[in-house]
């Protein structure tokens, strides 16, 4: 068991708490940097997908896990970013500029969508974002002069300063830079006053307001940052897939995004990454497991849905803190080895708390 002896106030907000964390994160960073030389191309491509989804998940985590504003239309922000990037890239804009524009446009859309969030809460907000998601999907399908409609749009590969990033390894490097950058932005935001304000709003709006936090400002900020990250993820997704169509950014994608952060563990950045790994890794596991199932079940189109649903139900019922919560328990067990008690993380049974009045 490690005891941290705090001698400076800076230690409270340091990104890495102690030397062990520094070591492991440095090792992880080294492995990720060396991955193009170590891993076969297929795994590298999968890892790029994990990074892309992790960017979106970090954004959604800021909004849902830290600010408490659930969005069931987040794929729409991805779509806005993806189509903006596709449009700009086709016109030969340099990559940094077009990525920045996609993020800015997504953020602007996010602020507009966030406006109802100032008046409605909880489920109403979820349904408002759901409606917004449908509207964006329909706009993408109908605005054929820009988006190519339902036929879809092919996207040129990314190119940075004239160097095309068309190999798997170079695109992986781009994704790595983006994911590290956006994670650092999110972590920094969370240890700054804005991030503390987000958490205060999540825990109680009334108390936050009476502490002098401007709800409208911080909710809009949360929506803007979250949408910007989703837009960045969408832009990279467009380059990765090289073909986008409106149905990639529909309700199913939105629910996948929410599923990702819930399974990863709400309220932790680690959870966003674990969720992204889950979302990308699960189809592979399912296809591996298909060999052990009877043919009628294995060939059914709904197998993946059933597995996702069962996993989701199991997580909500048995492990509400998600994969990261499970890791926390494991770590505590290891740290305390003979002294871990079963009830340590037990939820307190509480009466149903009404969220109607808040």
């Amino acid at each position: 068991m490690r005891f941290i002896f705090k001698t400076r106030y800076d230690q409270d907000i340091a990104l890495a708490r102690h030397g062990g964390q520094r070591f492991w994160y440095a090792l992880l960073a080294a492995c990720l940097v060396l991955a193009p030389w170590l891993l076969p191309e297929y795994w590298l491509a999968q890892l790029s997908f994990v990074f892309i989804y992790a960017i979106v998940a970090v954004g959604l985590m800021l909004l849902a896990g830290y600010t408490g504003q659930f969005s069931i239309g987040h794929a729409a922000f991805m779509g806005v970013g993806a189509y903006c990037e596709a449009w700009l890239a086709a016109r030969g804009w340099p990559l940094p500029l077009s990525l920045a524009c996609s993020m800015a446009l997504s953020a602007a859309v996010g602020v507009v969508v966030g406006l109802p969030a100032l008046r409605v809460k909880g489920m109403y907000l979820a349904i408002a974002t759901l409606s917004f998601g449908f509207i964006v999907e329909e706009v993408l399908a109908r605005w054929e002069s820009v988006t190519g409609g339902n036929a879809g749009l092919s996207v040129p590969p990314a190119s940075l300063f004239g160097v095309p990033l068309d190999s798997t390894a170079s695109f992986y490097a781009l994704c790595l830079v983006c994911v590290v950058g956006s994670t650092l932005v999110a972590l920094n935001l969370l240890r700054a006053p804005s991030g503390r304000a987000f958490v205060a709003i999540r825990d109680s709006e009334v108390s936050a307001q009476s502490m002098g936090i401007q709800l409208a400002r911080y909710k809009s900020l949360a929506f803007a940052v979250s949408a910007a990250l989703a837009g960045l993820g969408g832009a990279l997704y467009a380059h990765k897939m090289q073909f986008i169509s409106p149905d990639q950014f529909g309700l199913v994608q939105s629910i996948d995004l929410v599923l990702m952060i819930v399974i990863g563990g709400l309220g932790s950045i680690h959870g966003a990454f674990l969720g992204a790994i889950f979302l990308i890794g699960m189809p592979q596991l399912i296809s591996l497991g298909k060999d052990f199932l009877p043919a009628a079940m294995a060939q059914a189109a709904g197998l993946q849905n059933v597995v996702y649903g069962v996993v989701l139900i199991a997580f909500v019922m048995l492990e509400p803190m998600g994969l990261y919560g499970r890791w926390l328990k494991l770590r505590t067990w290891l740290e305390l080895y003979p002294f871990y008690r079963r009830g340590m993380f037990r939820r307190q049974r509480s009466y149903m708390k009404s969220e109607r009045l808040r």
Partner: protein, 291 residues
């Protein structure tokens, strides 16, 4: 008289939305969760009716009653096995749970060999019949939908107004803790509410089946019932039906008058407008926290 015909079609469609929205509202009032699997319960109900008629060769009315009963039982089971253990957790985790339920139901249906992946027509006795008043010609399916919805609403009104169970349900939805102290078995009532919601969903599915078709993704129509529930005010039973009618009529009118593509989006535009102007809906009451 085309307009009248469109309006009647809209009302029929709106009745189905209203019935699904009624399920949302019932469950929301009882357990404060939004059941995203409501549309999939409706789909299961339609498939149950199909199974009753196809496998057992029952007549339509018997199959329909059996389907509704079976779905009520399923609702009761779902509440007991899955929803009750997680009550007390944050609202959104329970919503995610219902997402999961929806996924499982949709996936499980497509796994049934030979049935799940196809679209089926439910052979109802009134299929294709029309009703001619001299001025307009109305499809019998639509009239049946409207009549059945009206009857269901009346039955629900009687239930909530005059029976002990109904009044207890009202009490527990107003203040759960107080109702519990008064000796009302709140948990058992929650189970009954889920059963009721599932039964209403099954009825909606059976009514919708002749108008569209029965297939695994028909539950997505439930997503259009959210606007209905919000427009009516999420806590109000009559509001759900009125909201459904409004959404149905607006949708079918916009399909006729507005350019293509608007029909699918108009319900969501309406709901965003309602949320911006009057977030509590038409019939909802505004709760405030007193500190």
């Amino acid at each position: 008289m085309l307009v009248l015909q469109i309006i009647v079609a809209g009302i029929a469609q709106g009745c189905v939305y209203g019935l699904i929205a009624l399920g949302f509202v019932l469950i929301y009032k009882a357990t404060e969760t939004v059941n995203f699997a409501q549309g999939d319960l409706m789909m299961l109900g339609a498939f149950a009716g199909l199974a009753g008629m196809g496998l057992f060769g029952w007549p339509f009315w018997l199959a329909a009653l059996a389907a509704i009963g079976a779905m009520a039982l399923l609702g009761l089971l779902l509440e007991r096995a899955i929803v009750r253990p997680v009550l007390g957790q944050p609202q959104f985790s329970i919503v995610m749970l219902t997402f999961g339920l929806g996924y499982v139901m949709r996936g499980a249906i497509t796994m049934v060999p030979g049935i799940g992946t196809d679209t089926h027509a439910l052979a109802v006795p009134y299929k294709g019949a029309t009703f001619n008043t001299g001025v307009v010609t109305l499809g019998m399916e639509q009239l049946v939908v409207i009549a059945a919805t009206a009857m269901l609403c009346a039955a629900l009104w009687l239930l909530f107004r005059f029976t002990r169970v109904g009044i207890a349900m009202q009490a527990s939805s107003q203040n759960q803790l107080a109702a519990y102290y008064m000796g009302i078995p709140v948990q058992r009532l929650n189970g009954l509410v889920w059963a009721l919601a599932a039964a209403v969903a099954a009825a909606a599915g059976l009514l919708l089946a002749p108008v569209t078709f029965v297939h695994a993704n028909m539950g997505f129509i439930g997503l259009k019932a959210f606007p209905a529930a919000i427009v009516g005010g999420f806590g109000s039973l009559p509001g759900a039906i009125v909201g459904g009618l409004i959404i149905g009529v607006v949708e079918s009118l916009s399909g006729f008058y507005l350019p293509e593509g608007f029909k699918d989006v108009v319900p969501y535009i309406v709901v965003l407008l309602v949320l911006a102007i009057r977030p509590t809906g038409l019939f909802g009451d505004r709760g405030r926290k007193k500190v």
